[in-house]
C-alpha cells in the first residue's frame, strides 16, 4: 500500500479509535486486495510503510464482497461498480479477504 495512504490510515485509527473505522478497498486482484487488508490489519508485509509492525486489526472489506454490497443502494452500486463484477474475479477476492479477516481482524 502507498506509504502516504498507510500514514493516513494510522492517523485516522488513532483519531477515531480503530473500532470505529472501516477500510474499503477496490483492488483489481485477490492478491492485491489481500495485501491491502493485511496491511491495515496486521501491518505492512513489505516492511516499507508507517504500518510496518503495527497491528491495527481494522475491519476491511473489498467493495464487491456480498455483505458490504448488501448495505449499498442497489442503483448506486450498479452505476458505479456493477460492470466491474463482470471484470474482477470476485470469488477469489472474497476468499482472500475473508482469510485475512479471520486471521487478523480485531473488530469482527
Amino acid at each position: 500500500m502507498d506509504l502516504e495512504n498507510q500514514k493516513r490510515v494510522k492517523e485516522f485509527a488513532e483519531q477515531y479509535g480503530p473500532e470505529n473505522v472501516v477500510v474499503l478497498v477496490g483492488a483489481a486482484e485477490g492478491e492485491a486486495a489481500g495485501l491491502a487488508a493485511e496491511t491495515v490489519e496486521n501491518g505492512d508485509p513489505t516492511f516499507a510503510g508507517p504500518l510496518t509492525g503495527v497491528q491495527l486489526g481494522l475491519l476491511c472489506y473489498h467493495v464487491c464482497e456480498p455483505e458490504i454490497k448488501a448495505e449499498f443502494d442497489a442503483n448506486v452500486y450498479e452505476e458505479n461498480v456493477g460492470m466491474m463484477e463482470m471484470v474482477l474475479d470476485v470469488d477469489d477476492i472474497c476468499e482472500e479477504m475473508s482469510d485475512i479477516r479471520s486471521n487478523y481482524c480485531k473488530y469482527l
Binding site: 486482484e29 492485491a32 516492511f47 516499507a48 452505476e79 461498480v81 460492470m83 463482470m86 471484470v87
Partner: protein, 514 residues
C-alpha cells in the same frame, strides 16, 4: 483531409544499474529500510543484456515479433526466451547500458554529465558501430575525466553516480546548488529521458524515409518535468530532443497528462497537421528512470527476474495525407470529461462506446483495440492483474450492457478484438501507442480497417484533482481516394459556376428582350 500515421519507432535501453540506483521503489527502500533483504536480493535478479534482448515482449516492442505471435507463447514469458534474437528491430532497437550511458553523454549541453576516460575509450567504438548513430552525435562524444574526479563529485558534491556492472563509471552533477528542480537526481532523470527520446526520433526519421529537416514540429508527451524553481515543468523536452536528433527545422512543445499524455499528444498532432499549421509532427515519449523496478519487490519475492529493467521510448510521425498511409479520424474521438466521473463503466463508456455511437458504429466495427498494453509478465506477479485483459473485459462487459454482444460471447470477442500486452511499465509508454506501428502495418496490409487507440491517466496522483482522465481516437484505412472520387474538383466547380452565370445572364437578356 485527415492526417496520416507516416511512421513509428520503438526503442528500449537496458539499464539494470539504474534499476538499483534510480528506480523510486529502490530509492524509497534505501530511505525506509536500508538494511532490508530486498536491496540485498535485488542485484541477483537483474537480467543480462542477452536475456533482455531475447525476452519475448521486448522483441515484440521493437517489432521483430508481433502481438499475435506473443499470444501463442505460454505464460509466463520470462523463462521462454528467443535464442539468438537481435537487438535491432523493424521499429527500433534495444541498447545496452554502456552504449546508452555514452549516448546520454552526447545529450548533455550544460556540462553536468561526466564519464571516465577509460569508459569512453572502451565504449565509443561500440556506440559508433550502431548504424543509427549520426556523425553529429559521434562528434558530440566527450573524452571523459579521471575516476578520482568522479568519485570526488559523488562524495562531495552530491552527484548522482553512473554505474556499469556495479562499478562507478561516471556521474551527473547538480545544475544548481539550491534549486531542487535542478538537483543531480532530477538532471539524471531528465537526461535519460532526453537520450531515449533522441534515440526514438533517430529511428522515426529512418523508418519514415524522410530527412530530419522535414520534421517541423515535435510534441513531447513524457511524464518528466524539466524546468527550474521559477517554472518547474516549464519544458521543453521536445525541442531539446529535436536539437540532438538533428531536426533543425522543428519547433515544439511538451504535452502532459500522465499515462494519457501520448493519446492527447497524438490528437493534437493530428489536428495541427489537418489544420495545415504544420506538415510533419513528431510525437515523442522518452523513458522514465523513476519507474525502473517499480514492482521489483514482488518479482524478487516470487524469485523471478526483475523485469522492469528497461527505459522505454517511442516516436510517431503524423503527416499530411499521402493517399496511402492509415489516417487518424478526428471525427470519432472519445473523451473523458470533467462530468464523466470515475465509475469504470462511465470511463469506458466515454472512451469507447460514446464515440462509436456518435459515428453510428458499434464495438464490432473496430478490428483491434489498443488500451493500456502493459506486459502481464510484469504486472500479474505484482497483483495488478493483466491490465490489457481487464480493459478488454470492461469493453466487452459494457458491450453486453449495450446489447452489442451476448454475454456468453465475451471471451471470444476479447480474443478477436484484443491484444496481448507487451509494453514495459513505463507509465505513458504502454498507453495505446505501442500498437500504432503494428496498426499501421496491419491496415496497410488490409488486415485491419479500424483500430482504436485508448489512453487513460491517473490525474489524482498529482494531488490537484480527484478526476480520472482519458481520450481515444481511431486509426483507419486511408480514405482520401474515396473522398476525391465523391467530391467535385475545383475546375468542375469553376465550370459549373460559369455555366450558371451564363444561364443567369441569358435569362436577364431574355427578360429585357421580352
Amino acid at each position: 483531409m485527415n492526417s496520416v500515421i507516416k511512421s513509428a519507432s520503438y526503442v528500449l535501453a537496458h539499464v539494470p544499474q539504474m534499476v538499483i540506483h534510480n528506480g523510486t521503489t529502490q530509492t524509497t527502500e534505501r530511505v525506509v529500510n536500508p538494511d532490508g533483504d530486498y536491496l540485498k536480493e535485488l542485484p541477483k535478479h537483474l537480467r543480462s543484456f542477452k536475456d533482455c534482448v531475447e525476452y519475448w515482449p521486448n522483441q515484440v516492442y521493437i517489432g521483430n515479433k508481433t502481438p499475435e505471435e506473443l499470444e501463442a507463447v505460454e505464460f509466463p514469458y520470462y523463462d521462454k526466451n528467443i535464442d539468438g534474437a537481435s537487438r535491432y528491430g523493424k521499429y527500433g532497437e534495444i541498447m545496452p547500458e554502456d552504449e546508452f550511458l555514452l549516448l546520454a553523454q552526447t545529450c548533455d549541453v550544460f556540462e553536468v554529465y561526466y564519464l571516465t576516460r577509460d569508459f569512453v575509450a572502451a565504449t565509443r567504438p561500440k556506440l559508433e558501430a550502431d548504424p543509427i548513430i549520426t556523425d553529429d552525435i559521434k562528434g558530440r562524444i566527450q573524452e571523459g575525466i579521471e575516476l578520482s574526479e568522479i568519485e570526488k563529485l559523488v562524495k562531495e558534491e552530491a552527484a548522482e553516480g553512473l554505474y556499469l556492472d556495479g562499478k562507478l563509471v561516471g556521474c551527473v552533477k547538480r545544475a544548481h546548488d539550491i534549486d531542487v528542480n535542478l538537483s543531480a537526481e532530477v538532471m539524471h532523470e531528465n537526461i535519460m529521458n532526453k537520450a531515449t527520446g533522441v534515440l526514438s526520433l533517430l529511428y522515426l526519421v529512418r523508418n519514415a524515409g524522410i530527412n530530419a529537416a522535414d520534421v517541423d514540429y515535435v510534441i513531447d508527451c513524457s511524464e518528466e518535468a524539466c524546468g527550474d524553481m521559477n517554472q518547474r515543468g516549464g519544458g521543453n523536452f521536445a525541442k531539446a530532443d529535436a536539437e540532438i536528433a538533428g531536426l533543425v527545422n522543428a519547433t515544439g512543445s511538451d504535452a502532459r497528462g500522465f499515462c494519457a499524455g501520448p493519446t492527447h499528444a497524438m490528437i493534437e498532432a493530428a489536428a495541427l497537421v489537418k489544420s495545415g499549421a504544420f506538415r510533419n509532427v513528431a510525437v515523442v515519449g522518452g523513458g522514465c528512470t523513476a519507474k525502473l523496478g517499480m514492482n521489483g519487490k514482488n518479482h524478487v519475492e516470487k524469485d523471478m527476474p526483475a523485469l522492469e529493467d528497461c527505459l522505454g521510448a517511442f516516436a510517431i510521425l503524423v503527416s499530411e495525407n499521402d493517399g496511402v498511409s492509415p489516417e487518424i479520424n478526428l471525427d470519432i474521438l472519445g473523451r473523458h470529461t470533467v462530468g464523466t466521473g470515475s465509475a469504470p463503466q462511465n470511463v469506458i463508456g466515454s472512451l469507447v462506446a460514446d464515440p462509436l455511437e456518435r459515428a453510428g458504429l458499434t464495438v464490432n466495427d473496430v478490428d483491434k483495440y489498443s488500451p493500456e498494453m502493459q506486459n502481464p509478465d510484469i504486472t500479474k506477479p505484482a497483483g495488478a492483474g493483466d491490465v490489457p485483459q481487464a480493459n478488454y473485459k470492461m469493453i466487452a462487459a459494457l458491450s453486453v450492457k449495450k446489447g452489442w454482444i451476448e454475454k456468453k460471447d465475451m471471451p471470444e470477442w476479447i480474443k478477436k478484438h484484443g491484444l496481448t500486452g507487451f509494453a514495459p511499465t513505463q507509465g505513458h509508454v504502454p498507453s495505446g501507442v505501442p500498437f500504432i506501428g503494428f496498426a499501421r502495418d496491419g491496415i496497410l496490409e488490409g488486415k485491419y480497417k479500424r483500430v482504436m487507440i485508448i489512453g487513460k491517466g491517473s490525474l489524482f496522483l498529482g494531488r490537484m484533482t480527484n478526476l480520472f482522465d482519458g481520450v481515444s481516437y481511431i486509426i483507419q484505412t486511408n480514405t482520401s481516394a474515396e473522398e476525391s472520387q465523391n467530391s467535385v474538383s475545383r475546375d468542375e466547380v469553376k465550370k459549373l459556376i460559369a455555366a450558371s452565370l451564363k444561364e443567369f445572364a441569358n435569362s436577364l437578356l431574355g427578360t429585357e428582350e421580352a
